[in-house]
């Protein structure tokens, strides 16, 4: 669910459309956008305080066979929340493996590639200190 929440709207929806098989479902809670107050810790480790809110869209649905899917995704895309909840529900059905290989694995690969690229660029800006030799050693 974390992977789905963090994914870019276009990445998730693209993979979901390619997967192509939207099962029949009924809404338990139709998509709704709201705010979540993000908290931090004083000094990074102490008591908590409120930093500010972020937008989140959530929904819940159930498949015709009864599996319930929930989604809490970052941002305001209702179609992303719907796809995420359907994927969550499908992961409890016989389609688990198909969904994992068609959607979750590629999504995880995209995320990890994006992270690694930033980490590699950051590593290239790491300072190598050197001391000039002076005096007799």
């Amino acid at each position: 669910m974390g992977l789905l929440a963090r994914s870019k709207d276009a990445d998730l929806l693209g993979l979901w459309r390619t997967y192509g098989d939207t099962p029949a479902f009924t809404w338990l809670r139709s998509p709704e956008t709201g705010g979540v107050m993000v908290r931090g810790r004083m000094g990074g480790s102490g008591a908590s305080f409120n930093v500010g809110e972020m937008t989140v869209t959530r929904c819940s649905l159930s498949l015709a066979e009864g599996q319930v899917g929930h989604a809490y995704v970052q941002g305001r895309s209702k179609s992303k929340a719907e796809a995420a909840a359907l994927i969550d529900a499908l992961m409890q059905t016989a389609a688990t493996d198909a969904v994992r290989s068609a959607i979750l694995n590629p999504l995880a690969a995209l995320e990890s590639e994006a992270r690694n690229t930033r980490a590699r660029k950051a590593a290239a800006t790491k300072v190598d200190f050197f001391t000039l030799a002076r005096g007799e050693d």
């Binding site: 908290r39 931090g40 008591a47 930093v51 500010g52 980490a119 300072v127």
Partner: protein, 361 residues
């Protein structure tokens, strides 16, 4: 006093029509798109998210477009939108120690584990206008090196090992929330930090600068400054456990401040803390300096009467939307107020000139 003023509907409508045209500017120039603002004016977007107190880059970019680049107006739009959102809950406090850092520097320890990582910084540029940017051209890709996989521990954790820096009291109590209860004084450090995090960058910078110039000086070193992404987790009632609900970019600054000890505390290093949405290190450093100055009472320091020590002054004036709302309302019609002032001054003047004439005769 406000009075109901009738009339002016057509003037207002036409003014707004002209505003829309002026916003668009010369139609021979291509129109800006919201994604262009989000990607290419990212630091403006970050500021609108931080002071609008809502992390949503697309909305902040839209607000900047709508406000013609007036960032305080854009923050106003975001604050207004924010009030329409139902609150789903609060996150688990973010773990900045697990941040995927784009930038991480320390002014106190050269050889800190994890190293000094500069990231995409303006530092060490010559601040000369780059006329090449006036022409569109492709940007070469940034250099890459082998990525570090080890965690990047907080610098203060090393000082804590030696027990030479103040420890932050840990607590899981729900913090005060300015968006739910009005400010009251004394405010706790939780509310102070929330207020500074969404406060005006210029104001917080000015107050922080005043401490450096000697008004409640607190000798700050930037122990650590880090910018990067952290996961946001929330307990979801439907599931009964916490899940990631997204990932945000944050700037965190921890200052390490000289402290000779006080009536209640032994000599040790003390700390100030700044945490801001997006990449905003000027604001994060300023927040940490002001946070430290406001902790005078807790540390048993003297109140020297400096602005930076005055919680009520700082918190009451840090919010640029409150400030601009009150400031700008004085341009709205005050015809009756002024009419009564006019009558009063005329009357006083008549009486005064009458007395002067009598004295002359």
């Amino acid at each position: 006093m406000y009075v109901a003023v009738k009339g002016g509907e057509r003037a207002i409508e036409n003014a707004h029509g002209w505003l829309a045209e002026e916003r668009r500017g010369d139609t021979d120039v291509a129109e800006l798109t919201v994604p262009q603002i989000r990607e290419q004016l990212k630091l403006a977007v970050n500021r609108v998210m931080a002071e609008g107190s809502l992390y949503d880059p697309d909305l902040a970019a839209l607000a900047i477009k709508q406000s013609r680049g007036d960032l305080i107006e854009a923050i106003f739009l975001i604050r207004a939108y924010r009030t329409t959102l139902p609150r789903f809950g609060a996150s688990v406090p973010v773990e900045t120690g697990k941040m995927a850092c784009d930038r991480r520097i320390s002014a106190t320890f050269k050889d800190a584990p994890g190293g000094q990582v500069l990231g995409p910084t303006f530092d060490y540029t010559h601040r000369l206008l780059d006329f090449k940017l006036a022409a569109e051209e492709d940007v070469p890709s940034a250099a890459e090196a082998e990525a570090r996989t080890a965690a990047t521990p907080h610098i203060t954790s090393f000082l804590q090992g030696e027990d030479i820096i103040q420890r932050e009291p840990v607590s899981d109590d729900a913090p005060g929330d300015l968006t739910r209860e009005p400010l009251s004084f004394p405010a706790g450090r939780d509310v102070r930090l929330q207020s500074l995090a969404r406060g005006d960058e210029g104001f917080v910078l000015g107050v922080a600068y005043s401490t450096q110039r000697g008004y409640a000086r607190n000798h700050a070193f930037v122990g650590e400054l880090r910018i990067g992404r952290v996961a946001v987790e929330m307990e979801v009632p439907e599931l009964g456990f916490a899940i990631d609900i997204g990932e945000i970019e944050l700037t965190e600054c921890e200052t390490v401040n000289q402290f000779k000890g006080s009536k209640t505390e032994p000599p040790q290093f003390t700390r100030g803390y700044g945490l801001i949405f997006g990449q905003s290190e000027r604001k994060a450093i300023a927040m940490a300096l002001v946070d430290r100055a406001l902790r005078w009472e807790e540390l048993g320091e003297d109140n020297v009467g400096a602005v930076a020590q005055d919680e009520e002054f700082v918190l009451s004036h840090a919010d640029n939307i409150q400030a601009t709302g009150f400031l700008e309302h004085i341009k709205l019609p005050h015809y009756v107020d002024f009419q009564s002032e006019l009558e009063l001054v005329r009357k006083l003047r008549r009486e005064a000139t009458g007395k002067m004439q009598e004295a002359a005769e």
